[in-house]
Symmetry: C2
Subunit: 183 residues, 2 copies
């Protein structure tokens, strides 16, 4: 695939940053020849985990989304710190669900919002589980209960709007693709 | 579901904006009682379209992602303007693919990035297609070819990294769920 960039970069500056995000504004010549800007939000790359038990049920947890100002069900995951993606996934699984897994499979690496963000997300399948205590990372008030549910039940929860996190659905798509090759 | 917000809002300000995004920084009392900030990127809500032909193949197009600085395959879609979601989807389908569809089905409404963004995306299924000319909305240099491919071929393209747009996979998850109810 030809990677020719149809934009010409004239300059770049950080216009806002906090601990979790950086917003970059580039000055560009657009593909049509006009001068303009392009804003990009840079955030830490992230991970999401499809935790599968022996009944082939998936672990979901009820978390609070600050931007949506709502509690909802989603798959475990979070931003990477100074660590490899699989290490981040192992850490998040302990922190958010109190679980460890013997078997880890990378299912995909996707862009979260390819028009506005640089963030990429690595999705893992975690199997052969052991159950322990959650490790409080300071976010425990943002997670309520967790539970295992079947793929069919997840489909029903999506239909009812109880799961509306697009990134969780991306992970489930990848998991279903993987499962289809295992049958 | 109890919608209690565990954050207390102290104040809010816009710290950056351009034509496509607004970044809001809220001053908050966090769930653990400490004072802090929460940054949220606000962008236009958006639509994505699973265009299905009579062979049950899906239309994909090769577009340029500025944040990724790469060409890749994804489903048609884009931001809403001052219009309802279905109208935006109809407009995008003409602009990006030169197509109109007689049959429109809303498949879901999902949050794009529930930790950092307020944007919601409505996914539609478009069927009973008519083919015409693309309408140039000023983005034509950012779209190369488009084509219909089977769900199986899409799965292979995802495996090979030729499709890595998470939002397209969210839409495909919703389409597969819908198709499963049609058989």
């Amino acid at each position: 695939m030809n990677e020719t960039n149809p934009f010409k970069l004239l300059g770049s500056k950080i216009v806002y940053q906090n601990h979790w995000m950086k917003v970059r504004e580039d000055s560009v010549i657009r593909p049509d020849g006009s001068k303009g800007i392009y804003g990009v939000m840079e955030s830490r790359d992230s991970v999401m985990i499809v935790v599968l038990n022996e009944a082939r049920e998936v672990y979901i947890l009820q978390t609070f989304s600050y931007p949506a100002s709502a509690w909802n069900w989603e798959l475990p995951g979070g931003g990477t710190e100074d660590e490899a993606a699989e290490q981040a996934a192992r850490r998040e699984l302990v922190e958010e669900a109190g679980m460890t897994a013997q078997s880890w499979t990378q299912l995909g690496n996707t862009r979260v919002c390819n028009g506005l963000m640089s963030e990429r997300k690595t999705t893992f399948l975690a199997q052969d589980l052991s159950f322990g205590e959650k490790v409080d990372s300071g976010d425990k008030e943002l997670i309520r209960e967790g539970k295992f549910v079947s793929f069919a039940e997840i489909g029903d929860m999506v239909k009812r709007g109880e799961i509306d996190d697009g990134q969780s659905l991306t992970a489930l798509y990848l998991a279903q693709q993987w499962l289809a090759t295992q049958q």
